[in-house]
């Protein structure tokens, strides 16, 4: 394997017809890093991945490994020369070859000695816990086993970069978790630089060193799992990592206290208070200030888990009526109509509250819920954002 320090993707764009599937995509990652592209279907994450492999020609931008340019839209190193490995959602094992032949495929192309091929295939099989499967055909194996063969087929070549395109999406829930653990262990052991594409936030949070959140071909946020999970950059990221309760409103008061931004926002349900820990210079902070000064709308984001039944959760107390109660094992997810924030008079009934609670709440039951101002996020709404979008 040719050694390297950094892989950088600069202003990568891919256009299909008139539409940009990926636009202004820039990211740099270091050796041994595990980076995840996270986003809903159609966000361009797989396209970005395929552009990096060279399987899809890029429209513009550059890809560098240290100082070596492997793609600039005109001159492109073909995928077979990039020394990358790729794992596919549907495994893409060669059905006419045995497990052994599948794993040896790349080694044979590189003209390694027979004994070397055998040794490395055996080692790769051991690494993915498939000793004894060498003579089987892919169709004789389960999905999880097939995907492990696909992983072995890549890592046996010691790729500079390993790319995984929704590798767990075709597996059932239990296997998915098992193989996820194995992937994590494998990365910790081999330290292969990895790009992982998924729409599943749990996978992204569990595996990644860094997460790149994508929407409509554009990067929304790049950050550690902790940052993306608890400090989302915008309403889209917030929604994608599990925030709900996007209520629109106008800021009535904005002030600073102990380095935090205090906001009082008039929503349709009433007044909502937030203590925002957006640091100085954060675009979220300046855009809120702009929205306050211009009287433009803002939108809230609160995790369902952070809303507490009863008035003990914090100073934002509201009256609700449960509309839908969904049993989820540990807790119930309750969708309720917001009757009004306490002490704020009658609010609109259209606003919806989403919360998770272990308190037994029946449908149509009226109850009081509350949320601490620390747990409430506010974002300025982008110009022309559609009504109802978080």
């Amino acid at each position: 394997m040719k050694d390297f320090k950094r892989i950088s993707v600069r202003h990568l764009a891919k256009r299909f017809g008139e539409k940009f599937a990926v636009d202004d995509f820039s990211i740099e990652f270091g050796k041994e890093e595990f980076v995840t592209f996270l986003g809903p279907s159609g966000c361009g994450k797989s396209t970005a991945l395929n552009c990096i492999t060279g399987l899809i020609p890029i429209t513009s931008g550059e890809i560098y490994i240290d100082d070596e340019c492997i793609d600039d839209g005109r001159l492109s190193v073909p995928p077979e020369k990039r020394e990358f490995g790729m794992v596919f959602q549907n495994y893409a094992l060669f059905p006419h070859l045995t497990v052994r032949e599948n794993i040896a495929f790349g080694l044979k192309l590189r003209k390694h000695a027979k004994s070397e091929v055998e040794r490395r295939v055996a080692e790769a099989l051991r690494l993915v816990h498939l000793e004894g499967y060498a003579g089987k055909f892919p169709a004789q194996m389960s999905g999880g086993e097939q995907q492990r063969v696909a992983i072995a087929r890549c890592i046996v070549l010691e790729p500079r970069l390993l790319l995984l395109d929704e590798p767990l999406s075709n597996l059932d829930a239990k296997l998915r978790v098992e193989l996820r653990h194995e992937l994590k262990a494998l990365h910790e052991r081999l330290k292969v630089t990895t790009i992982y594409v998924t729409h599943d936030q749990t996978e992204a949070l569990a595996l990644s060193d860094r997460i790149v959140v994508l929407k409509l071909g554009r990067i929304q946020q790049v950050g550690s799992p902790q940052a993306v999970f608890s400090d989302p950059a915008n309403p889209f990221v917030a929604d994608f990592v599990g925030y709900k309760n996007g209520w629109r409103g106008k800021i009535e008061a904005l002030g600073e206290s102990g380095g935090k931004l205090m906001a009082r926002v008039r929503t349709r349900g009433g007044l909502l208070e937030a203590r925002l820990s957006y640091p100085e210079g954060d675009p979220r902070r300046s855009s809120l200030v702009d929205a306050y000064e211009a009287g433009k709308p803002v939108v809230s984001a609160i995790r369902p888990d952070d809303i507490v039944v009863g008035s003990g959760g914090g100073s934002n107390v509201f009256q609700c009526r449960a509309a839908l109660v969904e049993y989820q094992g540990r807790a119930c997810h309750v969708s309720a109509s917001l009757v009004g924030l306490a002490g704020s008079g009658a609010g609109g009934l259209e606003e919806r509250v989403d919360l998770r609670t272990t308190a037994g709440i029946a449908e149509d039951e009226s109850f009081v819920a509350s949320v601490h101002p620390d747990k409430v996020l506010f974002f300025a709404l982008a110009e022309g954002a559609p009504e109802g979008a978080p």
Binding site: P78, E80, G85, N90, A92, H96, L109, A139, L157
Partner: protein
């Protein structure tokens, strides 16, 4: 087969069985029987003996194989790269497919008649060749081997192509990507991944094409020299049946035709199973 539902399901097989018995097994059995009897009804191998000792008849095997094998190989050999290039669809695919199907739908006789005038010594093709000074006298495309081969090829190629196109576009495109990512270039990917997966399709296309070509009849009569170099085996059978009214001899010839076709099919299928070991257990691509 126990229980009423099993019996009920078995009843559904009757039309298919009746069809096979009436249209295949009975005529085949009748033909076999006829070939093993003489005109007076006595059993004899004389019809076969006569064929193999008649040099003029025996030649027809070589003549027909000489047309059918190269033409089939060429048709399938051209269909493989063409279907490979069209596996992800190309602009104008419908038009290309249309022009390939036309000769099949028009039938051999019409195509052969067309070829006679189009490719004949005074036809447009030769006038073009002369006008472009590609040759100083008309090239013979009709009433010879070339005429028969072109006509048989025109009829067979579309079948081979459409069948292989269906086959190759059904192969999971990620297999090609996977192969590239493992270090194979396009050429290696074709030979190590796509071709082995196409082998079953190639084998079937070859067999069907070969059987069609081996029973060539109208093309040979219209575009060849049916009395001499292009006296194909089907023509020999026809002449014995309808010119000499010896149905027993004709039946023997058709049995020999069937035996040769089966032999070639057996060889091709043997090659297929050697090339594609995983075939029996791999259902999904």
């Amino acid at each position: 087969m126990k229980g009423s539902s099993g019996n009920g399901a078995a009843l559904l097989l009757i039309p298919a069985i009746a069809f096979i018995v009436l249209l295949f097994l009975y005529p085949f059995g009748y033909g076999l029987f006829t070939s093993l009897t003489l005109a007076d009804g006595s059993f004899s191998l004389a019809n076969y003996g006569r064929f193999f000792s008649d040099a003029r008849d025996l030649r027809t095997i070589g003549v027909t194989l000489g047309i059918a094998l190269p033409v089939t190989l060429l048709a399938v050999g051209m269909a493989v790269p063409l279907s490979y290039h069209m596996r992800r669809g190309v602009p104008g695919e419908k038009l290309i497919t249309f022009f390939l199907i036309v000769p099949v739908t028009l039938g051999t006789v019409l195509v052969s008649e067309g070829m006679l005038s189009f490719m004949g010594p005074n036809g447009w093709l030769n006038q073009l060749i002369l006008a472009l000074r590609l040759a100083d006298k008309p090239i013979r495309f009709t009433h010879n081997y070339a005429g028969v081969a072109i006509s048989v090829g025109l009829q067979g190629f579309p079948y081979a192509f459409l069948m292989l196109l269906g086959y190759i576009s059904g192969i999971n495109p990620d297999l090609e990507k996977a192969s590239r990512m493992l270090g194979a270039n396009n050429w290696q990917t074709f030979w190590k991944v796509l071709f082995p997966l196409m082998v079953p399709g190639i084998a079937i296309a070859f067999c069907l094409n070969f059987v069609m070509a081996f029973s060539v009849f109208p093309s040979a009569v219209l575009l060849g020299q049916p009395s001499g170099p292009q006296r194909v085996i089907a023509l020999a059978a026809y002449q014995w049946a309808f010119e000499k009214f010896n149905f027993n001899a004709a039946a023997a010839i058709s049995m020999i035709m069937a035996a040769i076709e089966l032999l070639v099919i057996a060889i091709v299928l043997g090659w297929r199973s050697k090339m594609y070991k995983g075939a029996s257990i791999v259902g999904k691509g």
